[in-house]
Protein backbone atom coordinates (compact mmCIF):
# COMPACT_ATOMS: atom_id res chain seq x y z
CA UNK A 1 0.00 0.00 0.00
CA UNK A 2 2.74 2.38 1.00
CA UNK A 3 4.95 1.82 -2.04
CA UNK A 4 2.13 2.20 -4.55
CA UNK A 5 0.72 5.06 -2.48
CA UNK A 6 4.06 6.83 -2.69
CA UNK A 7 4.10 6.43 -6.50
CA UNK A 8 0.56 7.79 -6.67
CA UNK A 9 1.51 10.85 -4.63
CA UNK A 10 4.34 11.49 -7.10
CA UNK A 11 1.85 11.17 -9.95
CA UNK A 12 -0.44 13.67 -8.20
CA UNK A 13 2.48 16.11 -8.08
CA UNK A 14 3.10 15.87 -11.82
CA UNK A 15 -0.62 16.02 -12.56
CA UNK A 16 -0.94 19.13 -10.42
CA UNK A 17 1.98 20.74 -12.20
CA UNK A 18 0.37 20.04 -15.59
CA UNK A 19 -2.94 21.39 -14.37
CA UNK A 20 -1.26 24.56 -13.23
CA UNK A 21 -0.95 25.61 -16.89
CA UNK A 22 -4.74 25.94 -16.86
CA UNK A 23 -4.43 28.80 -14.39
CA UNK A 24 -2.82 30.73 -17.20
CA UNK A 25 -5.07 29.77 -20.09
CA UNK A 26 -6.69 26.83 -21.83
CA UNK A 27 -4.38 27.50 -24.79
CA UNK A 28 -1.30 26.95 -22.69
CA UNK A 29 -2.89 23.81 -21.25
CA UNK A 30 -3.59 22.62 -24.80
CA UNK A 31 0.03 23.30 -25.71
CA UNK A 32 1.16 21.31 -22.69
CA UNK A 33 -1.09 18.39 -23.69
CA UNK A 34 0.14 18.52 -27.30
CA UNK A 35 3.74 18.59 -26.16
CA UNK A 36 3.11 15.62 -23.84
CA UNK A 37 1.42 13.60 -26.56
CA UNK A 38 4.16 14.28 -29.06
CA UNK A 39 6.16 11.70 -27.09
CA UNK A 40 3.94 8.63 -27.51
CA UNK A 41 6.48 6.30 -25.92
CA UNK A 42 6.64 8.29 -22.68
CA UNK A 43 2.88 8.65 -22.56
CA UNK A 44 2.22 4.97 -23.11
CA UNK A 45 4.84 3.78 -20.60
CA UNK A 46 3.67 6.20 -17.94
CA UNK A 47 -0.05 5.70 -18.46
CA UNK A 48 0.27 1.90 -18.42
CA UNK A 49 2.53 2.07 -15.39
CA UNK A 50 0.13 4.38 -13.66
CA UNK A 51 -2.80 2.12 -14.43
CA UNK A 52 -0.90 -0.84 -13.00
CA UNK A 53 0.11 0.99 -9.83
CA UNK A 54 -3.38 2.34 -9.33
CA UNK A 55 -4.87 -1.11 -9.83
CA UNK A 56 -2.42 -2.72 -7.40
CA UNK A 57 -3.15 -0.02 -4.83
CA UNK A 58 -6.91 -0.43 -5.17
CA UNK A 59 -6.87 -4.22 -5.19
CA UNK A 60 -4.47 -4.66 -2.25
CA UNK A 61 -6.40 -1.99 -0.37
CA UNK A 62 -9.68 -3.83 -0.85
CA UNK A 63 -8.14 -7.21 0.02
CA UNK A 64 -6.61 -5.67 3.13
CA UNK A 65 -9.98 -4.30 4.14
CA UNK A 66 -11.66 -7.68 3.75
CA UNK A 67 -8.82 -9.56 5.44
CA UNK A 68 -8.78 -7.19 8.38
CA UNK A 69 -12.50 -7.33 8.81
CA UNK A 70 -12.22 -11.08 9.04
CA UNK A 71 -9.35 -10.84 11.56
CA UNK A 72 -11.43 -8.55 13.76
CA UNK A 73 -14.05 -11.28 14.05
CA UNK A 74 -16.97 -10.32 16.19
CA UNK A 75 -17.23 -6.61 16.91
CA UNK A 76 -18.01 -5.01 20.25
CA UNK A 77 -21.42 -4.04 21.52
CA UNK A 78 -20.11 -0.60 22.35
CA UNK A 79 -18.13 0.75 19.43
CA UNK A 80 -15.90 3.60 20.46
CA UNK A 81 -12.50 4.76 19.45
CA UNK A 82 -9.84 5.65 21.98
CA UNK A 83 -8.16 7.83 19.34
CA UNK A 84 -9.66 11.20 18.53
CA UNK A 85 -9.89 12.30 14.89
CA UNK A 86 -9.93 8.83 13.48
CA UNK A 87 -12.43 9.63 10.70
CA UNK A 88 -9.83 9.58 7.95
CA UNK A 89 -8.17 6.32 9.00
CA UNK A 90 -11.41 4.44 9.50
CA UNK A 91 -12.86 5.52 6.16
CA UNK A 92 -9.87 4.78 3.91
CA UNK A 93 -11.77 2.12 1.99
CA UNK A 94 -14.70 4.48 1.32
CA UNK A 95 -12.64 7.51 0.36
CA UNK A 96 -10.57 5.12 -1.74
CA UNK A 97 -13.61 3.79 -3.58
CA UNK A 98 -14.80 7.34 -4.22
CA UNK A 99 -11.43 8.17 -5.77
CA UNK A 100 -11.63 5.00 -7.85
CA UNK A 101 -15.06 6.00 -9.17
CA UNK A 102 -13.77 9.47 -9.90
CA UNK A 103 -10.68 8.14 -11.66
CA UNK A 104 -12.78 5.89 -13.90
CA UNK A 105 -15.09 8.72 -14.94
CA UNK A 106 -12.29 11.22 -15.28
CA UNK A 107 -10.18 8.98 -17.50
CA UNK A 108 -13.18 7.94 -19.58
CA UNK A 109 -14.06 11.54 -20.32
CA UNK A 110 -10.70 13.24 -20.42
CA UNK A 111 -7.93 10.73 -21.08
CA UNK A 112 -9.82 8.76 -23.72
CA UNK A 113 -11.35 11.90 -25.15
CA UNK A 114 -9.88 13.80 -28.06
CA UNK A 115 -6.47 15.09 -27.00
CA UNK A 116 -6.37 17.47 -29.89
CA UNK A 117 -9.01 19.61 -28.22
CA UNK A 118 -8.56 18.69 -24.59
CA UNK A 119 -8.55 22.34 -23.58
CA UNK A 120 -12.06 22.73 -24.96
CA UNK A 121 -13.20 19.42 -23.44
CA UNK A 122 -12.14 20.67 -20.02
CA UNK A 123 -13.82 24.03 -20.27
CA UNK A 124 -17.03 22.43 -21.58
CA UNK A 125 -16.89 19.83 -18.83
CA UNK A 126 -16.75 22.37 -16.05
CA UNK A 127 -19.55 24.39 -17.59
CA UNK A 128 -21.79 21.83 -15.99
CA UNK A 129 -22.52 22.63 -12.38
CA UNK A 130 -22.94 18.98 -11.40
CA UNK A 131 -19.68 17.86 -12.95
CA UNK A 132 -17.85 20.61 -11.06
CA UNK A 133 -19.51 19.61 -7.80
CA UNK A 134 -18.68 15.96 -8.40
CA UNK A 135 -15.04 16.89 -9.00
CA UNK A 136 -14.98 18.96 -5.82
CA UNK A 137 -16.46 16.15 -3.76
CA UNK A 138 -13.91 13.74 -5.16
CA UNK A 139 -11.09 16.14 -4.27
CA UNK A 140 -12.35 16.38 -0.70
CA UNK A 141 -12.34 12.57 -0.61
CA UNK A 142 -8.79 12.65 -1.93
CA UNK A 143 -7.72 15.10 0.77
CA UNK A 144 -9.29 12.90 3.44
CA UNK A 145 -7.57 9.84 1.98
CA UNK A 146 -4.22 11.64 1.94
CA UNK A 147 -4.61 13.00 5.45
CA UNK A 148 -4.31 9.47 6.75
CA UNK A 149 -2.43 7.99 3.82
CA UNK A 150 0.57 10.26 3.78
CA UNK A 151 1.44 9.81 7.43
CA UNK A 152 0.54 6.15 7.30
CA UNK A 153 2.89 5.63 4.37
CA UNK A 154 5.83 7.09 6.29
CA UNK A 155 4.99 4.99 9.36
CA UNK A 156 4.92 1.86 7.21
CA UNK A 157 8.29 2.78 5.73
CA UNK A 158 9.53 2.96 9.30
CA UNK A 159 9.92 6.75 9.36
CA UNK A 160 8.94 7.57 12.91
CA UNK A 161 11.46 9.45 14.99
CA UNK A 162 10.97 12.28 17.49
CA UNK A 163 13.33 14.39 15.39
CA UNK A 164 11.05 14.28 12.32
CA UNK A 165 7.66 13.73 13.89
CA UNK A 166 6.87 17.44 14.22
CA UNK A 167 7.58 17.98 10.53
CA UNK A 168 5.60 14.88 9.59
CA UNK A 169 2.58 15.94 11.63
CA UNK A 170 2.64 19.32 9.87
CA UNK A 171 2.93 17.67 6.46
CA UNK A 172 -0.09 15.55 7.36
CA UNK A 173 -2.12 18.74 7.04
CA UNK A 174 -0.08 20.54 4.40
CA UNK A 175 -0.03 17.75 1.80
CA UNK A 176 -3.79 17.08 1.57
CA UNK A 177 -4.66 20.77 1.77
CA UNK A 178 -2.15 21.56 -0.98
CA UNK A 179 -3.67 19.02 -3.35
CA UNK A 180 -7.20 20.00 -2.36
CA UNK A 181 -6.51 23.64 -3.22
CA UNK A 182 -4.60 23.11 -6.43
CA UNK A 183 -7.06 20.57 -7.85
CA UNK A 184 -10.30 22.18 -6.79
CA UNK A 185 -9.12 25.59 -7.97
CA UNK A 186 -9.81 24.46 -11.55
CA UNK A 187 -13.50 23.58 -11.30
CA UNK A 188 -13.96 26.56 -8.98
CA UNK A 189 -12.42 28.91 -11.52
CA UNK A 190 -14.67 27.60 -14.26
CA UNK A 191 -17.66 27.58 -11.94
CA UNK A 192 -17.23 31.24 -11.12
CA UNK A 193 -16.57 32.13 -14.69
CA UNK A 194 -12.99 33.29 -14.42
CA UNK A 195 -11.44 30.33 -16.23
CA UNK A 196 -10.89 30.66 -19.96
Amino acid sequence: MAITGCCLVLFLCSHAAGNATLFYSTQLFQAYADQLHSHPLIVSVFSKGLFLIFAVHAITGSLLFLQNRKARGQGYKIQTRAVKNSQASSTMIYSGLLILLFALIHTAVVSFGDHGKIGITISELFDSFFVSIFYLIAFIGLALHLSHGFWSMLQTFGVNHPRYNKLISRLTYVVPVFFLLIFSAIPLLFLFGTGQ
Partner: protein, 252 residues
Protein backbone atom coordinates in the same frame (compact mmCIF):
# COMPACT_ATOMS: atom_id res chain seq x y z
CA UNK B 1 -9.84 10.61 51.85
CA UNK B 2 -13.51 9.90 52.10
CA UNK B 3 -14.83 6.68 50.79
CA UNK B 4 -17.89 6.90 48.66
CA UNK B 5 -19.98 4.05 47.49
CA UNK B 6 -21.74 3.78 44.18
CA UNK B 7 -24.44 1.69 42.59
CA UNK B 8 -23.82 0.17 39.19
CA UNK B 9 -25.58 -1.71 36.52
CA UNK B 10 -23.41 -4.20 34.62
CA UNK B 11 -23.91 -5.82 31.24
CA UNK B 12 -21.48 -8.69 31.03
CA UNK B 13 -20.74 -11.10 28.20
CA UNK B 14 -21.53 -14.62 29.38
CA UNK B 15 -20.40 -17.57 27.34
CA UNK B 16 -20.37 -21.12 28.69
CA UNK B 17 -17.39 -22.42 26.74
CA UNK B 18 -15.51 -21.87 23.52
CA UNK B 19 -18.22 -23.53 21.45
CA UNK B 20 -21.26 -21.89 23.00
CA UNK B 21 -22.75 -18.72 21.57
CA UNK B 22 -22.67 -16.17 24.32
CA UNK B 23 -24.90 -13.28 25.21
CA UNK B 24 -25.06 -10.31 27.56
CA UNK B 25 -26.53 -10.59 31.04
CA UNK B 26 -27.45 -7.68 33.22
CA UNK B 27 -26.59 -7.41 36.90
CA UNK B 28 -26.95 -4.66 39.46
CA UNK B 29 -24.54 -3.94 42.27
CA UNK B 30 -25.17 -1.71 45.26
CA UNK B 31 -22.78 -0.06 47.64
CA UNK B 32 -19.56 -0.54 45.75
CA UNK B 33 -16.75 1.29 47.52
CA UNK B 34 -14.92 3.69 45.22
CA UNK B 35 -11.67 2.46 46.78
CA UNK B 36 -12.17 -0.91 45.13
CA UNK B 37 -10.41 -1.90 41.97
CA UNK B 38 -12.42 -3.01 38.97
CA UNK B 39 -11.57 -6.64 39.64
CA UNK B 40 -12.58 -6.32 43.29
CA UNK B 41 -15.91 -5.01 42.09
CA UNK B 42 -16.22 -8.16 39.96
CA UNK B 43 -15.24 -10.22 43.03
CA UNK B 44 -18.19 -8.72 44.90
CA UNK B 45 -20.47 -9.58 42.00
CA UNK B 46 -19.15 -13.14 41.96
CA UNK B 47 -19.67 -13.53 45.73
CA UNK B 48 -23.26 -12.45 45.27
CA UNK B 49 -23.74 -14.82 42.34
CA UNK B 50 -22.18 -17.72 44.22
CA UNK B 51 -24.41 -17.08 47.24
CA UNK B 52 -27.41 -17.17 44.95
CA UNK B 53 -26.18 -20.48 43.55
CA UNK B 54 -25.44 -19.00 40.12
CA UNK B 55 -22.34 -19.37 38.01
CA UNK B 56 -19.77 -16.63 38.78
CA UNK B 57 -18.31 -14.56 35.94
CA UNK B 58 -15.00 -16.05 34.79
CA UNK B 59 -12.24 -13.50 34.28
CA UNK B 60 -8.45 -13.70 34.08
CA UNK B 61 -6.15 -12.07 36.62
CA UNK B 62 -3.01 -12.81 38.56
CA UNK B 63 -0.82 -10.10 40.06
CA UNK B 64 -3.49 -7.43 40.39
CA UNK B 65 -0.76 -4.84 40.41
CA UNK B 66 -0.49 -4.11 36.71
CA UNK B 67 2.62 -6.10 35.88
CA UNK B 68 1.66 -9.59 34.76
CA UNK B 69 -0.65 -8.87 31.83
CA UNK B 70 -3.22 -11.50 32.74
CA UNK B 71 -6.21 -9.24 33.35
CA UNK B 72 -8.14 -7.40 30.72
CA UNK B 73 -11.62 -6.78 29.39
CA UNK B 74 -13.25 -4.17 27.24
CA UNK B 75 -15.23 -1.71 29.36
CA UNK B 76 -17.70 0.46 27.48
CA UNK B 77 -15.81 -0.09 24.25
CA UNK B 78 -12.31 0.65 25.58
CA UNK B 79 -9.82 -2.09 26.42
CA UNK B 80 -8.82 -1.92 30.10
CA UNK B 81 -11.42 0.79 30.66
CA UNK B 82 -11.36 4.55 30.40
CA UNK B 83 -8.17 5.43 32.29
CA UNK B 84 -5.09 5.83 30.10
CA UNK B 85 -2.05 3.63 30.82
CA UNK B 86 -3.92 1.56 33.38
CA UNK B 87 -4.57 -2.16 33.46
CA UNK B 88 -8.02 -3.35 34.44
CA UNK B 89 -6.74 -4.53 37.83
CA UNK B 90 -5.36 -1.06 38.55
CA UNK B 91 -8.49 0.73 37.44
CA UNK B 92 -10.34 2.04 40.47
CA UNK B 93 -14.04 2.45 40.91
CA UNK B 94 -13.63 6.13 41.79
CA UNK B 95 -13.48 6.77 38.06
CA UNK B 96 -17.12 5.78 37.75
CA UNK B 97 -20.29 7.42 38.95
CA UNK B 98 -23.28 6.04 40.74
CA UNK B 99 -25.92 4.92 38.26
CA UNK B 100 -23.40 4.16 35.49
CA UNK B 101 -24.02 1.22 33.21
CA UNK B 102 -20.84 -0.67 32.39
CA UNK B 103 -20.76 -2.96 29.39
CA UNK B 104 -18.02 -5.51 29.95
CA UNK B 105 -16.85 -7.63 27.01
CA UNK B 106 -13.92 -9.98 26.49
CA UNK B 107 -10.86 -9.02 24.41
CA UNK B 108 -12.14 -9.94 20.98
CA UNK B 109 -10.19 -10.95 17.89
CA UNK B 110 -10.27 -13.92 15.57
CA UNK B 111 -6.88 -14.95 16.98
CA UNK B 112 -8.20 -14.80 20.58
CA UNK B 113 -10.91 -17.47 20.89
CA UNK B 114 -13.16 -16.98 23.92
CA UNK B 115 -12.79 -19.77 26.50
CA UNK B 116 -15.47 -18.70 28.96
CA UNK B 117 -17.16 -15.39 29.76
CA UNK B 118 -14.35 -12.81 29.81
CA UNK B 119 -11.49 -15.27 29.44
CA UNK B 120 -9.87 -15.47 26.03
CA UNK B 121 -7.10 -17.72 24.80
CA UNK B 122 -4.19 -15.39 24.10
CA UNK B 123 -1.62 -18.11 23.52
CA UNK B 124 -1.18 -16.86 19.96
CA UNK B 125 1.00 -14.14 21.50
CA UNK B 126 3.11 -16.79 23.25
CA UNK B 127 3.68 -18.54 19.94
CA UNK B 128 4.94 -15.29 18.41
CA UNK B 129 7.48 -15.04 21.26
CA UNK B 130 8.46 -18.68 20.80
CA UNK B 131 9.21 -17.96 17.15
CA UNK B 132 12.03 -15.57 17.98
CA UNK B 133 11.45 -13.32 20.96
CA UNK B 134 14.55 -14.49 22.81
CA UNK B 135 18.32 -14.42 22.63
CA UNK B 136 20.25 -17.67 22.43
CA UNK B 137 23.42 -17.92 24.44
CA UNK B 138 25.06 -21.02 23.07
CA UNK B 139 28.51 -20.72 24.56
CA UNK B 140 30.23 -19.52 27.69
CA UNK B 141 28.62 -17.41 30.36
CA UNK B 142 26.35 -14.56 29.39
CA UNK B 143 28.34 -11.30 29.48
CA UNK B 144 27.37 -9.04 32.34
CA UNK B 145 24.67 -6.75 31.01
CA UNK B 146 26.12 -3.75 32.81
CA UNK B 147 29.53 -4.29 31.21
CA UNK B 148 28.21 -3.53 27.70
CA UNK B 149 28.17 0.23 27.12
CA UNK B 150 24.89 1.39 25.53
CA UNK B 151 23.78 4.99 24.91
CA UNK B 152 21.22 5.86 27.54
CA UNK B 153 18.61 6.92 24.95
CA UNK B 154 18.86 3.50 23.33
CA UNK B 155 18.61 1.80 26.70
CA UNK B 156 15.51 3.86 27.48
CA UNK B 157 13.88 2.96 24.16
CA UNK B 158 14.60 -0.71 24.70
CA UNK B 159 13.24 -0.48 28.24
CA UNK B 160 10.07 1.25 27.00
CA UNK B 161 9.51 -1.55 24.51
CA UNK B 162 10.33 -4.16 27.14
CA UNK B 163 7.63 -2.83 29.44
CA UNK B 164 5.04 -4.65 27.30
CA UNK B 165 3.21 -7.07 29.59
CA UNK B 166 1.63 -8.97 26.69
CA UNK B 167 -1.94 -8.41 27.84
CA UNK B 168 -3.32 -8.26 24.29
CA UNK B 169 -5.21 -4.98 24.67
CA UNK B 170 -3.55 -3.80 21.44
CA UNK B 171 -5.12 -6.68 19.54
CA UNK B 172 -8.46 -6.25 21.28
CA UNK B 173 -8.70 -2.57 20.43
CA UNK B 174 -7.33 -2.73 16.88
CA UNK B 175 -10.11 -2.37 14.29
CA UNK B 176 -8.12 -4.94 12.28
CA UNK B 177 -7.34 -7.32 15.16
CA UNK B 178 -3.63 -6.85 14.44
CA UNK B 179 -0.85 -7.76 16.85
CA UNK B 180 1.72 -5.37 15.42
CA UNK B 181 2.25 -3.30 18.57
CA UNK B 182 2.94 -6.41 20.63
CA UNK B 183 5.24 -7.94 18.02
CA UNK B 184 6.87 -4.58 17.30
CA UNK B 185 7.66 -4.06 20.98
CA UNK B 186 9.10 -7.53 21.33
CA UNK B 187 11.23 -7.18 18.20
CA UNK B 188 12.57 -3.71 18.91
CA UNK B 189 13.30 -4.45 22.56
CA UNK B 190 15.91 -6.96 21.38
CA UNK B 191 17.04 -5.36 18.14
CA UNK B 192 18.02 -2.17 19.99
CA UNK B 193 20.43 -3.93 22.30
CA UNK B 194 23.72 -5.63 21.53
CA UNK B 195 22.55 -8.96 22.95
CA UNK B 196 19.92 -9.11 20.24
CA UNK B 197 22.21 -8.50 17.27
CA UNK B 198 23.29 -12.04 16.26
CA UNK B 199 19.73 -13.22 15.66
CA UNK B 200 18.35 -9.89 14.57
CA UNK B 201 17.33 -10.80 11.03
CA UNK B 202 16.03 -14.28 11.71
CA UNK B 203 14.07 -12.91 14.63
CA UNK B 204 12.31 -10.26 12.56
CA UNK B 205 11.43 -12.74 9.84
CA UNK B 206 10.33 -15.52 12.19
CA UNK B 207 8.21 -13.36 14.46
CA UNK B 208 6.43 -11.56 11.63
CA UNK B 209 5.76 -14.88 9.91
CA UNK B 210 4.42 -16.37 13.16
CA UNK B 211 2.21 -13.33 13.66
CA UNK B 212 0.68 -13.70 10.19
CA UNK B 213 0.15 -17.42 10.69
CA UNK B 214 -1.96 -16.84 13.78
CA UNK B 215 -4.57 -14.98 11.76
CA UNK B 216 -4.00 -11.50 13.16
CA UNK B 217 -4.99 -8.64 10.89
CA UNK B 218 -2.72 -6.10 9.23
CA UNK B 219 -1.79 -2.72 10.61
CA UNK B 220 -3.43 0.24 8.90
CA UNK B 221 -2.01 2.73 11.38
CA UNK B 222 -5.19 3.46 13.29
CA UNK B 223 -3.23 4.12 16.51
CA UNK B 224 -5.88 2.52 18.74
CA UNK B 225 -3.33 0.11 20.22
CA UNK B 226 -1.06 2.87 21.45
CA UNK B 227 -4.03 4.71 22.96
CA UNK B 228 -5.20 1.79 25.08
CA UNK B 229 -1.83 0.20 25.90
CA UNK B 230 -1.58 0.06 29.70
CA UNK B 231 2.17 0.58 29.39
CA UNK B 232 1.97 3.45 26.91
CA UNK B 233 4.01 1.65 24.26
CA UNK B 234 4.44 3.82 21.19
CA UNK B 235 3.67 2.78 17.62
CA UNK B 236 7.22 3.89 16.94
CA UNK B 237 7.96 0.25 17.76
CA UNK B 238 5.83 -0.78 14.79
CA UNK B 239 7.91 1.50 12.58
CA UNK B 240 11.05 -0.12 13.99
CA UNK B 241 9.60 -3.56 13.27
CA UNK B 242 8.79 -2.53 9.69
CA UNK B 243 12.36 -1.37 9.22
CA UNK B 244 13.71 -4.58 10.72
CA UNK B 245 11.46 -6.71 8.52
CA UNK B 246 12.27 -4.85 5.32
CA UNK B 247 15.99 -4.93 6.10
CA UNK B 248 15.86 -8.64 6.83
CA UNK B 249 13.81 -9.57 3.78
CA UNK B 250 15.48 -7.31 1.21
CA UNK B 251 19.09 -7.41 2.36
CA UNK B 252 18.85 -11.01 3.57
Amino acid sequence: MTTKSIDLSLEIWRQKDSKATGDFETYTLQNISTDMSFLEMLDVLNENLTREGRDPVAFDHDCREGICGMCGAVVNGIAHGPEPETTLCQLHMRHFNSGDTLVIEPFRSRAFPIMKDLITDRSALDRIIQAGGYVSVNTGGAPDGNAIPIPSTTAELAMDAASCIGCGACVASCPNGAAMLFTGAKISQLSLLSQGQPERKERAMAMVTAMDKEGFGNCTNERECEAVCPKGISIRNIAIMNREYVKASVLG
